[in-house]
Structure formats: C-alpha cells, structure tokens
C-alpha cells in the first residue's frame, strides 16, 4: 500500500486542444500515475493518440490489444510515442477512452519504463482494449508529459489527472 497518493494536477478541457502538456511536475515523489478520460473531435470512430515526456519522443513500446473479435500485438520502434486509439467524433456520443499510465521511479537516471492500460468506450462493436509496456530512452527526470493526436483535437470534457506516489 502506497504511503502517499497525492493529486498533483486535475485538468478538464473547457475548449478543444490539439496538445495538452502537464508541466513543471514536482520532484518530490517516487512514482507518477496519470489517469485520463480522452475523446477526440476527429470525424471518425477513433483517432490515434501519443504521449511523450519532456518534449522528447524516442520511446519504444510493446502493445497487446483486443477488440472483441480479434487480438494482436504491436511493436513500436518508430520513436513516435504512440499510445493507441481513443474515441473520436463518430463513436457513441458522450463516451470517452479510459487511459492509465504508471511511471515508476520518474526521477531516476535510467531510461524510464512505464506501463499503460487503456480501453476505448463504445456502445457498439469494435471497442479496443490495450495493454502496453513502454520505455522512454532518456535518463533525465520526467518533468512534463505531453499528449498529442494524429488528427484534430482533444474534445471538451477530456480529463487529465496526475497523481504523485511517494515511497511506493
């Protein structure tokens, strides 16, 4: 059981945004946990989302996914910080993708590994669940996390909650 689990930042989009950066992350915790509810304004059922640290890509990841009718895995070696699909404009109204990213030891001088789980929420077929192991190949402490999209913007109502965990 974690000794502390502290809300660092809570953001709900009041207007659409192409990128969202949570910056000046304090260096007073051991781990970070980011919990998001994401939807895009892109005119399709899903849109591809990306997240990276300190304004630097250079990430790799292994994904395992399933969508109710198929499953598979993806190896990301393009330094593109891909985190998977999120709900977009033609998916079921008022549904958002649940996204969780855990970053242990975010201050260490090693490469930063993290684990992710996410699922698109769609009251129809083809909702996709994703598990991913990620590595960000820089040794600097994580001081900011940026979300971007392949197309369009994050929709109003998308939320970004960042928690700090101490002595976990």
């Amino acid at each position: 059981m974690a000794n502390t689990y502290t809300l660092i930042s809570a953001t709900t989009l009041a207007s659409s945004a192409s990128t969202v950066t949570i910056g000046s992350i304090p260096s007073t915790y051991t781990d970070l946990h980011l919990v998001c509810s994401l939807r895009s304004d892109y005119s399709a059922a899903v849109n591809n989302a990306y997240a990276y640290f300190n304004a630097n890509d250079n990430g790799r990841a292994i994904f395992v996914y399933g969508d109710g009718s198929s499953f598979g895995n993806i190896n990301i070696n393009y330094n593109e910080s891909y985190i998977g699909p999120i709900n977009a404009a033609t998916s079921t109204s008022n549904t958002f993708t649940s996204y969780s990213l855990y970053i242990p030891n975010y201050l260490s001088s090693n490469y930063k590994t993290s684990s992710q789980d996410s699922v698109t929420e769609n009251n129809a077929t083809n909702a996709r669940a994703v598990l991913a192991a990620r590595v960000w190949e820089y040794t600097a402490a994580v001081t900011s996390i940026t979300f971007r999209l392949q197309f369009s913007t994050y929709a109003v109502g998308s939320t970004f909650y960042l928690y700090g965990i101490k002595n976990s």
């Binding site: 953001t11 192409s18 990128t19 000046s24 304090p26 993806i74 593109e80 891909y82």
Partner: protein, 85 residues
Amino acid sequence: MTENLTALEVCCCGNCAAEGHEKEVIRPLTAEEITQREADAEAYATRKAEEDAAAEAKAVFKASAKAKLIAGQPLTAEEADVLVL
C-alpha cells in the same frame, strides 16, 4: 476548413500565482509541433502497412498449411510457424 490547432499547457508547480504566471496557458501550435503531427501520421501509415502485409501473409500461409494437412503433404517452415507460433 482550417483547423484551429492549439496547445494547452498546465503548470504543476503549485505556486503559479506567487511566481506570476498562469496555471493554464493556451497557445497556437508551433511549426515544429505541426511537423511532428505529420511525422506521426507518416509513421503510423508505415506501421499499419507492415501490419496489414504481415497479417495477409499469415493468412496465406495458414490457408496453404490447412490444405496441405488435409492432403497429407509436408509443410514449409513458414506454414508450420503459423500453426505453432
């Protein structure tokens, strides 16, 4: 229609007012950020094409492996791989 591409920057310093800056700033995307979006799209298209090609190849090997098993013929290494990997 031209997209209104904006970036939201949220500060977690916990002392924004005292330090004289806003907790949240909205600004237009930079040219570099727009270029990055284009690179993302290109990388995704490349990976998607590779995934589609791999899936198609697997389906072909699987079909030929099934046909050979039914006919009692030996499988190639690729055909065996899709059955046991």
